[in-house]
């Protein structure tokens, strides 16, 4: 019978060894990434038009365009990991991805947990609601239900500044939008660039509050302390500014959504300079 105990002990030891082998011990430096031949970037899989999957299973969007360019310039293969808003910080802190390009807004609190690179997009908060019951002022939301996605600046903003607003929190953008369509909330709040794009595509809904809270930026993020990768990304963004990359990105991925008359400069940050 001693054999069995040894068998179990062996199995457990095996499991533990496999687990620790599979676990990442720390962030990957620039050289390690180059050597491995691929970079792992976390992107949204359901936030059109910034990061989403089309019907052919291909990732598309403003963030994705940048991700592809980064991988190309680094000379490695791009491995995309689908993320949802609540898990972006977690992914960097547990080294599950090298970079997060999931439309991540810079905030001081977040900067304590991850390292942000130069900005590539401007953003504030917006609120979209049904045309029939348009919310045009934040005061109208008091006592009403507002849909937010967990882990977004919208969630934090309303929690801290307007606690009388009832928050309905969803894990992913798809759930949040379906919630809005099904009347689970009187409005939905997230980045204004996002709600505007969605409202344009979905008749019957409009953005009643176009800009709420402070004007923030969207920056790439890497694990805290990953200086080599951070420096390289910052250098990249400056260089890309010289060829007006982000304007081209806008034309390729966002122009169709926002229309001919929209001003790209209202959203785009070129060369990391606001």
């Amino acid at each position: 019978m001693k054999r069995w105990i040894r068998g179990i002990a062996l199995a457990l030891a095996l499991v533990l060894v496999l687990a620790s082998a599979a676990a990442a011990e720390g962030f990957r430096t620039l050289d390690e990434i180059r050597e491995s031949g691929k970079i792992t970037i976390g992107l949204f899989h359901d936030k059109k038009p910034f990061g989403y999957v089309d019907e052919y299973g291909e990732y598309q969007g403003y963030d994705v365009y940048l991700a592809r360019r980064l991988a190309q310039d680094l000379g490695v293969e791009l491995e995309i990991v689908a993320v949802d808003a609540p898990n972006r910080i977690e992914f960097l802190q547990s080294f599950k991805t090298d970079v997060i390009l999931a439309n991540f807004t810079y905030t001081a609190e977040r900067a304590e947990q991850v390292d942000f690179a130069l900005p590539y997009m401007k953003v504030a908060l917006g609120v979209v609601s049904p045309d029939g019951a348009l919310i045009t002022d934040v005061e109208q939301l008091k006592g009403k239900k507002l849909i937010v996605s967990k882990g977004t600046t919208a969630e934090t903003f309303f929690e801290q500044n307007y606690p009388e607003v009832q928050l309905v929190r969803y894990d992913s953008y798809t759930d949040a939008y379906l919630g809005l369509l099904d009347g689970r909330g009187d409005g939905l709040s997230t980045d204004n660039t996002e709600v505007l794009a969605w409202a344009i595509e979905n008749p019957g809904f409009s953005v009643g509050i176009e800009s709420l809270g402070s004007l923030d930026t969207i920056n790439p993020a890497v694990s805290k302390g990953n200086e080599t990768l951070l420096a390289w990304i910052n250098e990249e963004i400056r260089k890309l500014g010289e060829e007006n990359f982000f304007h081209a990105d806008y034309e390729a991925t966002l122009r169709e959504t926002y229309g001919e008359n929209a001003d790209a400069d209202a959203l785009v940050v070129e060369g990391g300079v606001i």
Partner: protein, 231 residues
């Protein structure tokens, strides 16, 4: 309107994507079932030992698994281990670990139950006939244990397959998540969400139902067998 909706499933490679997502789910489930079968047998034997320490250890394992919702265990491994030990496991590995932890304990308990339900006189008669320990195990105990175990084991397998739906919460792109991605492109189609979720529902059913039918058939078959324990 429903017509427009269901076509969503067949645009582009949407349906293939759903099936690929289902494959991720099945992969996790199959690996778990495999590991649980092997380790479960060992666990069951450990439970039967007279040693108080090993029995206590097994008991503790079983109780942890019974008390904690699977989702909590998943979070503990996926998020908690990363913070506590610096072990950063990806979603699929965490899922296999957690579900195997659960499956092993359950399988072990089933095995123990099956083995102890064989009447003592079977063993005694065999010994009286002069069979060695190994022969008793092989010709008397094992077949009967397997017969009692099989329906419940298959039942457990179905439960494992269903529980893998939880991995959506730890960022594994399985069938539900793929479904959400598909829905996210068709907000303007009123019934898209309905058909996608209905399709996922049906897919799970089509996989689990035949298996549970098999378990039911096996149970009936073995119930009337001569080895059902009647003297």
């Amino acid at each position: 309107m429903p017509d427009l909706g269901i076509s969503v499933l067949f645009r582009g490679i949407n349906f293939q994507r759903l099936l690929l997502g289902l494959w991720v789910t099945l992969r996790i489930a199959l690996i778990t079932i495999g590991v649980s079968l092997v380790l479960g047998l060992l666990f069951g034997l450990l439970m039967l030992r007279k040693n108080r320490l090993s029995r206590g250890f097994c008991r503790l394992w079983l109780e942890i698994v019974r008390f904690m919702p699977q989702l909590v265990l998943l979070y503990l491994v996926y998020f908690g281990f990363a913070r506590l030990f610096g072990w950063n496991l990806d979603g699929e590995l965490s899922a296999v670990l957690v579900f195997s932890f659960w499956g092993t304990a359950e399988m072990g308990d089933l095995f123990r139950g099956a083995l102890t339900s064989i009447p003592k006189h079977q063993r005694e008669s065999a010994a009286a006939l002069g069979l060695t320990r190994a022969q008793i195990n092989r010709y008397i105990l094992l077949p009967q244990t397997a017969r009692r175990l099989l329906p419940q084991a298959i039942n457990l397998s179905t439960r494992i397959i269903k529980t893998t739906a939880l991995v959506k919460m730890i960022n594994v792109t399985e069938v539900l998540k793929v479904g959400q991605q598909i829905i996210g492109q068709y907000y303007r189609e009123p019934a898209a969400a309905f058909w996608v979720y209905a399709a996922v529902f049906l897919l799970y059913f089509l996989i689990c139902w035949p298996i549970s039918l098999l378990a039911g058939w096996l149970e009936k078959r073995y119930q009337d067998g001569p080895a059902a324990g009647a003297a």
